[in-house]
């Protein structure tokens, strides 16, 4: 470890070097901020309700394609304002992505810790589940679950939460085992700490950076998965709307009115790209060996 050879002079708290944000990362952060603002303020900034019909202006093109200013991004086949629908779709998709990512991370980390703590049979069971989950095509599983249990937003979010749990489980198990064998966790256990204290107060904060990075990598995947399922008609059901839902219903008008589909498509691309960029940068930032 590089900082173990610090001379005593370095004891005076070293000034934190101010590193400049790479422009791509700055843009990514700005875009994510914009998306969050849109999601939070959807009611306030939407020009129309997302279900409001304007039957005289059906399939009206956006402004830059010689449309009128009443519908900046145009309207769909029922005359619903694409911009307003986009705002509410962003809210819905972000809600699903955040909810699912957090559920997956919490469940996966818990399972990983259980495996690391009990070892033996529990570990084998968790690892079998992990392998099972990793080898199962998730789309098929999602189709089956949604077909049998019907569709509700809650079920949908929980289902997507189980999309990437095995990654967190693997990471948490590996890091907890290595922390438990040597170093701070062994030291605290030797002080008489209960396992709960060791995992919650010591191991979790120490591996949190890795888990957070993993979450930023899983987040775009959940958005894409939600889009895919909604595109197939299994995700968010009308009249509610999401980015994938907009894509799915817009595809019938791909040749006549591409703007219905292009707005959510670009939003998905930019948002996933922004989160991936920021996640990559964050990983380098929080890894003390790379600083």
């Amino acid at each position: 470890m590089s900082d173990s050879v610090l001379p005593a002079a370095a004891v005076a708290a070293p000034p934190k070097p101010r590193t400049r944000l790479p422009p791509a990362v700055a843009l990514g952060i700005a875009w994510i901020g914009l998306m969050l603002a849109v999601a939070l303020l959807a009611e306030v900034i939407s020009p129309y309700a997302y279900t409001a019909l304007d039957l005289r202006n059906r399939l009206s093109p956006p402004v830059f394609m010689d449309g009128n200013w009443a519908h900046v991004l145009g309207t769909d086949e029922l005359g619903r304002d694409v911009l307003s629908r986009l705002f509410f779709s962003i809210r819905m998709s972000l809600l699903i992505a955040f909810g699912a990512t957090i559920i997956g991370a919490a469940f996966g980390t818990t399972m990983g810790f259980l495996a690391a703590h009990f070892r033996g049979v529990v570990e084998q069971a968790v690892l079998t589940l992990v392998d099972f989950s990793a080898s199962l095509p998730f789309l098929i599983l999602a189709l089956a679950v949604l077909a049998f249990f019907g569709n509700s937003l809650m079920l949908f979010i929980v289902l997507l939460g189980f999309h990437a749990w095995e990654r967190y489980a693997r990471i948490a198990r590996g890091l907890a085992i290595s922390a438990g064998a040597q170093g701070y966790a062994a030291a605290v256990r030797q002080l008489g700490a209960t396992p709960l204290r060791v995992y919650w107060r010591h191991i979790l904060p120490n591996i949190a950076s890795t888990l957070i990075i993993s979450m930023t990598l899983a987040f775009p995947e959940v958005i894409l998965l939600e889009s895919g399922l909604s595109f197939l008609g299994l995700g968010v059901q009308p009249p509610a709307t999401s980015l994938g839902n907009m894509l799915g219903y817009g595809r019938e008008y791909l040749t006549r009115a591409p703007w219905i589909l292009l707005a959510p498509a670009f939003t998905i691309i930019l948002t996933t790209l922004a989160i991936s960029l920021v996640g990559d940068w964050l990983r380098d930032r929080v890894d003390p060996t790379l600083r």
Binding site: M1, D3, S4, L6, P7, A8, A10, V11, A13, P14, Q182, G183, Y184, A186, A187, V188, Q190, L191, G192, A193, T194, R197, H202, P205, N206, P288
Partner: protein
């Protein structure tokens, strides 16, 4: 049970199963092969040996961190409870461990003061104000400034970190402390400071110390008794000065001759043969393939650790033979 005896370990054995390659047979590795030792209140027992000889494993078994495959550990006359039980956890306040790598032993995301206070929280000693007061006293006790308690481990030097680890170990006023190579990760100049601190703290708090090291001189400085380990067994035990001046076991003689002496012509005993491999213990005396005075008997039967004179114990068939260095 004698009152002075703080810790008594009898015939400790620890085996690990190791697998070679993907489909290889699993091999039993005997890390510790029958170690008995006794630690008295306020005294120090040094445990020396080369790396891989099982001294750290012995330390962990003595602390109850690991369960021996055979043998028993008794602390203050009572057998060691099973790890993870309530009784075992409560006993942690009475015995503490100091690790080799102080940076690894400290949580890098917590301040020093929070970590020194942690044993007090775990064992529910005092309230918040009392704990803060005690932490300050502990930090002063090990030679740290109380304001350094607000620092994080990576903001301290190696010696200061080891002091912080010592402060944490002392927080519950333990009766026994196991120091596993506490100075090997430190600079030579800081090693001496930490050693002196350890001796001072022992004099002040009166805990029994099991000092594990590969450095015979460091062990000599702190210990009343020294045990030399080779491949999972104690080959010789006795007072450090007697051991250094008049080693009876050929392995100890080789170790002692390896200590550099300025101005004296080198008469080092260089051991022949391979370094010991715990996965394939030699028959009889574990040391016989490398021993310059080994005979056919050494390959057949393992020598027992027997008392010789003046409180010394040796495990060698030829312990009464003349000292090697003089023969050579």
């Amino acid at each position: 049970m004698r009152d002075a005896s703080l810790l008594e370990a009898k015939g400790l054995v620890r085996r690990y199963t190791m697998r070679r390659g993907l489909l290889g047979r699993s091999v039993d590795v005997t890390a510790v092969a029958g170690v008995s030792l006794r630690l008295e209140r306020g005294r120090t027992l040094g445990l020396v040996g080369e790396s891989g000889c099982g001294k750290s494993t012995t330390g962990r078994m003595v602390l109850g961190m690991e369960v021996p495959d055979a043998g028993s550990v008794a602390f203050e006359g009572r057998p060691m409870p099973t790890p993870g039980t309530q009784a075992w956890r409560a006993l942690r306040a009475r015995m503490q461990m100091v690790f080799q790598d102080p940076l690894g032993a400290l949580d890098r995301r917590m301040t020093i003061a929070a970590q020194v206070a942690e044993p007090l929280e775990i064992h529910r000693i005092g309230d918040t104000a009392e704990r803060a007061f005690r932490v300050e006293a502990l930090l002063r006790n090990v030679g740290l400034r109380p304001d350094q308690g607000a620092r994080y481990p990576h903001e301290l030097s190696g010696g200061q970190r080891q002091r912080a680890v010592l402060a944490r170990a002392l927080a519950t006023s333990p009766a026994m402390m196991v120091c596993d190579e506490p100075i090997s990760a430190l600079d030579v100049s800081i090693q001496a400071q930490v050693m002196n601190l350890l001796v001072e703290l022992q004099a002040e708090h009166g805990m029994g110390l099991l000092f594990i090291s590969h450095d015979l001189r460091a062990v000599r400085q702190v210990s009343e008794r020294v045990a030399v380990m080779y491949l999972g067994t104690i080959v010789e035990e006795g007072p450090p000065d007697a051991l250094l001046q008049d080693a009876r076991h050929p392995y100890t003689q080789a170790l002692v001759s390896a200590i550099p002496h300025p101005g004296r012509s080198s008469n080092r005993i260089v051991l022949q043969g391979d370094p010991p491999n715990p996965a394939s213990r030699p028959s009889g005396c574990a040391f016989h393939p490398r021993c310059p005075i080994a005979t056919a008997r050494c390959a057949r039967e393992a020598p027992a650790l027997r008392d010789t004179h003046e409180g010394r114990r040796v495990a060698c068939h030829h312990a009464d033979a003349p000292v090697l260095a003089e023969v050579a």
